[in-house]
Subunit: 207 residues, 2 copies
């Protein structure tokens, strides 16, 4: 559902309001900073329950709690990360994950030369230890940041190790069982979408 994505946006915005000491917000106030309409905010929220108070708005603390519960971030999720190249190492160190309740509990690489090296507070493990680590930690989420030609194999290994949600940074589509959730972040494609829009905007080609 499309609303779920926006729920995350609302949560961010609400956290800002909370920091600023704001106690209640109207749908209008919540929407403007995000470039949305007030109706859309209300429709999105109403879909999941009745959180607002007519004439008053939404209580910030309360709504944050509800949204976290809906999004599943009212608890800490343990995450394993496969592939410690430039991007993988950056993701392992990314503080934004921790801030939203995701804790990376294991980093892995197929390259023996990388095994044993430290990435942040963790030591790179060989792929053979994947199942052991997921079993020990109970991790259910995995991040793939390996080259495209290895991604499917890694995905299979993750699924075999009990991972049920995969965030994929490899530039390829993954085949996964129905009980596994996959979400791809394709960086080059994002730039292509940008240039598509730019073509109809920019006249001078800079040549």
């Amino acid at each position: 559902m499309a609303a779920v994505f926006r729920l995350s946006l609302y949560l961010r915005e609400l956290t800002e309001f909370q920091k600023a000491g704001v106690k209640t917000v109207s749908s209008l106030r919540l929407s403007t900073g995000l470039g949305l309409t007030d109706v859309r905010v209300r429709k999105d929220l109403a879909y999941f329950g009745q959180f607002g108070y007519p004439g008053v708005g939404y209580r910030v603390d309360e709504l944050i709690t509800e949204l976290k519960r809906i999004l599943g971030t009212d608890r800490v999720w343990d995450v394993v990360l496969i592939g410690c190249g430039n991007l993988g190492s950056a993701l392992a160190a990314y503080k934004g994950f921790r801030r939203q309740g995701f804790r990376i509990v294991g980093v892995f690489d197929i390259d023996p030369k990388k095994v044993g090296r430290r990435v942040g507070e963790l030591t790179i493990q060989p792929m053979e230890e994947l199942s052991k680590t997921t079993a020990r930690t109970g991790a259910r989420v995995g991040i793939i940041s390996v080259p495209a030609d290895q991604a499917q194999k890694v995905a299979d290994q993750l699924v075999a190790a009990g991972i049920r949600g995969i965030l994929n940074f490899a530039c390829t589509a993954l085949a996964t069982p129905a009980n596994v959730v996959e979400n791809s972040v394709n960086l080059a494609i994002r730039l292509e979408q940008l240039t598509f829009q730019l073509r109809s905007l920019v006249q001078d080609s800079g040549a």
Copy 2:
């Protein structure tokens, strides 16, 4: 439009076919590996023109050329990158961009300690040199990988320097003029969407 995103997928898949020496593909064959339907492929392509041959399919080389033209990747786009933390450095070194026709021609950071350090083949420049570099190179695309609280300021500087397309990795919404295209990649949100779906899938919370 939603089809544009899939055009990029088709282009990837077609490139694979091309490597394998395949000369023509049907919409069905093009769709299966991507988990789509044949009708969707045909509708998407037909929206931009008549590229197929009834009874035959699509000529791989020809369609690749057309898609690149549509997406604007039939030429090289020069890109500047702002923010050389972990993520920024990884993006600067990311080979996938180069492969799709994006060339990073300048990397910048606000931190004086980072200025002068090398990232791949480039040297980190101070923000003051942004306009000069965009003017010299004709770059029209910028990547923002700075902390959220600095993102808007950087976006303003990019726009002032003539950048017309922004790929934003900061965890915040940007306000940009109408003649500037913005595209946000929010990593933490992607994980949140994953956990939302996982909640209705995973019963044992691993506790």
